[in-house]
């Protein structure tokens, strides 16, 4: 095969002692992208080895690419919705493809910036550490681009991505060692550093290219509610919220597109159904509780609206389920998910300064997931120690 020969020819240059030895991680990343490596169990053929000689065909690349595929419906819908919102708010007569193309052109620089900055830093760290480049950022980068407002200044985005990758991940050792979801670290960085570009009513609808007039504002349902307004009698019908034809972050508005992704993640077993279900349960129960209190307009919003508004669905499916930062025990996953859902709704309703409670709820629970696991595992330890004590008494 020509491509294989090409890699084989180049390989000596990038191996130890070769001319481009310093770029070996980069070469490896591209080679293993094209070809699953030929390594065998035990290192090499003929090596003395005791252990499992056969391995499951799955690897991390396969896992991450499944997540990326699951993101695609939301991404494609989001592109169309960007154009759709612009056309609606600016009163433009654009057809379907025109709307999609406009959204694509607005999304492209965002995605490119995310990947170039993030992957650039990942490759750099891999070379310095003499490690292989982890594929984790392929998913993270795309997720970051999907949860920012379409009008985000690219330099701010670049800074946020750099912060997320370096402080959120690499200082802890890279993919698999981080304790906060890097995509949310980027989102939180933007939210707290540049609040005027990340919230309010003027950031959710992109102006058409070459537009010089006043920016049209388009509020999100969460923005309206946290401002004390009502969302009824507006465009925010259940139908619109579910389909996602509303202003919002680039690709997180469409619940139905996200559900398609969720379906793939659950069918393939990549994401934990325990977490997804418990997030919905937690959010729903908290919503019901507020319905029962009903002290203000926001509390009276039917509980199921919370699933449809803002980043609840997206966070539940794609970010709460990140295995590295979630609780790791099955029992812990229930607690972790439930609290994310509950806190997300709690923050939304009770703290109008943070309209998007989901992001903060997930980051908060990321911090607590080791503690949750610790408590779950402690029960197992206690049970074992009790057994030891009984055995000791028996022999004594």
């Amino acid at each position: 095969m020509i491509l294989r020969d090409f890699f084989d020819k180049l390989k000596p240059n990038f191996s130890k002692g070769g001319r481009f030895e310093k770029l070996s991680s980069t070469f490896e990343a591209f080679e293993s992208f094209a070809f699953t490596p030929n390594t065998v169990t035990g290192g090499k053929v003929g090596a003395a080895y005791k252990g499992s000689h056969i391995r499951d065909a799955v690897d991390l690349k396969r896992t991450i690419i499944t997540v990326v595929i699951a993101l695609l419906p939301a991404l494609l819908f989001g592109m169309w919705n960007i154009g759709h919102q612009t056309a609606t708010y600016y009163g433009l007569d654009w057809g379907f493809w025109h709307q999609w193309w406009f959204g694509f052109l607005r999304m492209l620089p965002i995605i490119v910036v995310c990947y170039i900055v993030g992957l650039g830093i990942e490759f750099l760290f891999a070379e310095i550490r003499h490690e292989e480049v982890s594929e984790g950022f392929i998913g993270t980068g795309l997720i970051i681009s999907m949860i920012v407002p379409v009008t985000v200044p690219l330099w701010q985005l670049a800074l946020a991505v750099a912060f997320a990758v370096v402080i959120g991940k690499e200082v802890f050792g890279g993919s698999g060692y981080n304790f906060l979801n890097p995509a949310l670290v980027a989102r939180a960085f933007l939210f707290f550093s540049y609040p005027s570009h990340m919230s309010g009513d003027s950031v959710w609808v992109a102006a058409p290219f070459h537009f010089t007039g006043d920016v049209v504002t388009g509020a999100t349902p969460l923005g309206l509610l946290s401002g004390g307004a009502s969302i009824y009698n507006s465009q925010f019908t259940i139908h619109n919220l579910f389909i996602g034809t509303i202003p919002g972050s680039t690709c997180e508005t469409s619940v139905i597109a996200i559900l398609l992704g969720a379906l793939l993640l659950l069918a393939t077993g990549i994401a934990s159904w325990r977490i997804m279900l418990s997030v919905v349960l937690g959010g729903g129960l908290m919503g019901l509780l507020f319905n029962a209190i009903g002290a203000n307009e926001y509390m009276q919003v039917p509980f199921y609206y919370h699933f449809l508004m803002g980043g609840f669905a997206f966070g539940c499916v794609f970010m709460a389920t990140d295995p590295v930062t979630a609780a790791q025990t099955n029992c812990g996953k229930w607690i972790y998910g439930f609290l994310i859902g509950a806190f997300a709704v709690l923050l939304r309703v009770l703290n109008p300064a943070y309209p998007e409670g989901m992001m903060l709820a997930i980051l908060l629970m990321n911090c607590f997931s080791p503690l949750i696991d610790h408590c779950v595992v402690a029960r197992n330890i206690k049970r074992r120690q009790k057994r030891w004590a009984t055995a000791e008494r028996r022999t004594a």
Partner: protein, 456 residues
């Protein structure tokens, strides 16, 4: 009859299971005893190249444990003393003289102490494994119980009742000896299957287990019957070795007879062979033909033991001590173009990201699944969670235990149940791990760290 049903686990159906057909091997050629088959021994060589030996003549012993004397399985001459790095003893090879003369051991012993002495002198003692740590017990060790599994659930399973067929009296005698020297003996059989004479063995507590691998591992069975607590020890022993013990006390001769299955997808006629412990694998492979390998496969690997926790052996190597099958699978040293993206019907995966995995979920098994030694990916930090729990029928948290072993926190390892596992008990986790971590080596290192700390 109570049968314990094991739910967690996985049966990996690799084609090429041995048929119930036996060939007797002639006891010619070379046999080897390998210190590397045992955990934590420091061998002291007792013979030199060219020395004549009888079956039962000690070849080397463990400096740290006087009870561990390793004896020649055959009579003949010491052909080679193989050493590796830093002159570490790798194996002692004996060329058989085809006469199989054995030292005459005393069989009149009746007290437990005398029985132990004979077992140590003849080398039978080295067939015992002490958990935790999987070591050979000391001469005066008093275990809580002895556990024997006559149920192989690992890939390419062997039929242990069939392998013991014809050794009824020896097996019973072996059980009696173990009962005398160690007390309680537990024998675990496969539920819902005809286990022949094993159902009627005396002086044992018989248990039945049913379910996917690792239902047949002693680790799983101990956890269900009488779990190991801190400070306790139990012994395990291979079912065939029980018969060998009985045979010595019935005849006075040391003859570590062993039925070995030669099996796997590339073996032309997978079947059983009757030979001795330490047999040359080349003699076995001579007996069969191998199927032709197609591109991109070009070579195969011989594994002494099962494919999940066995030892790779060279084509001119020797089967290891506890081996009851030699599994042969193709080497997977090929590149797979865009392997992370293609749907793939033929690669086995627990993950439903592969179509083969999806089909197996709907009970549609592809009989043409490829099994080879390819790692199918690169090493990564532990990433995916929830993979292991479905595969481990023990009351432990595998991921947390593995991490405790990696960081070497002894107290945490103890608390998380390291004493209840041997590496083989977590072999399925190693198989399934997305991050391709060598989990069994990690568990072994954890166990060794504790063992050294305890000075055992």
């Amino acid at each position: 009859m109570n049968t314990t049903i094991i739910k967690e686990g996985l049966d990996i159906c690799i084609p090429g299971t041995a048929e119930r057909r036996v060939s007797d091997m002639r006891l010619t050629g070379c046999f080897a005893v390998k210190p590397t088959d045992y955990v934590g021994i420091k061998p002291r060589l007792l013979v030199a190249e060219g020395d004549p030996v009888l079956a039962g003549t000690p070849l080397f012993e463990d400096k740290g444990n006087a009870a561990a004397r390793f004896t020649s399985p055959v009579s003949g001459t010491v052909k080679a003393v193989v050493r590796g790095d830093k002159r570490a003893l790798l194996s002692v090879v004996v060329e058989a003289d085809n006469e199989q003369k054995s030292i005459q051991f005393s069989t009149s012993a009746s007290t437990a102490d005398k029985l132990r002495k004979t077992m140590i002198e003849s080398g039978l003692w080295t067939m015992l494994r002490q958990r935790p740590f999987g070591i050979i017990p000391q001469a005066d060790a008093k275990p809580k119980a002895v556990f024997i599994s006559a149920f192989d659930s690992s890939p390419l399973p062997v039929d242990i009742p069939f392998m013991l067929d014809g050794r009824e009296q020896d097996f019973q005698a072996g059980i009696d000896i173990l009962h005398t020297i160690a007390g309680t003996v537990h024998l675990s059989l496969q539920g819902g299957k005809d286990n022949g004479f094993l159902e009627k063995v005396q002086n044992v507590e018989i248990h039945h287990f049913q379910g996917p691998h690792p239902a047949g591992l002693t680790g799983t069975q101990i956890a269900r019957i009488d779990p190991i607590n801190k400070g306790e020890t139990v012994w395990t022993i291979n079912a065939q070795d029980v018969a060998t013990i009985g045979q010595l006390f019935n005849t006075g001769h040391y003859c570590p007879q062993r039925m070995v299955a030669l099996c796997g997808p590339v073996v032309g006629n997978p079947q059983y062979y009757r030979t001795l412990s330490g047999a040359s694998v080349a003699e076995l492979t001579k007996q069969t033909t191998f199927k032709e390998l197609h591109e991109p496969l070009s070579d195969f690997r011989l594994i002494s033991g099962n494919v999940l926790s066995g030892t790779a052996i060279a084509k001119d190597g020797f089967i290891s001590a506890e081996c009851d099958k030699v599994s042969v699978i193709p080497e997977g040293n090929y590149y797979d173009f865009m392997g992370w993206l293609r749907p793939n019907f033929r690669k086995f995966s627990l993950s439903r990201t592969f179509l083969s995995g999806v089909l197996s979920k709907f009970k549609i098994q592809n009989s043409k699944l490829d099994f080879d030694t390819c790692k199918h990916g690169s090493d990564r930090p532990l990433f995916v969670t929830g993979e292991f729990e479905k595969l481990v029928p023990l009351d432990i948290y595998p991921m947390q235990l593995i991490k405790a072993c990696i960081v070497g926190d002894i107290e945490l390892m103890e608390n998380l149940g390291i004493y209840e596992v041997e590496p083989e008990d977590l072999a399925l986790c190693e198989f399934a791990d997305t991050s391709k971590t060598e989990i069994q080596a990690i568990i072994r290192n954890g166990l060794e760290k504790i063992r050294k700390e305890l000075g055992l």
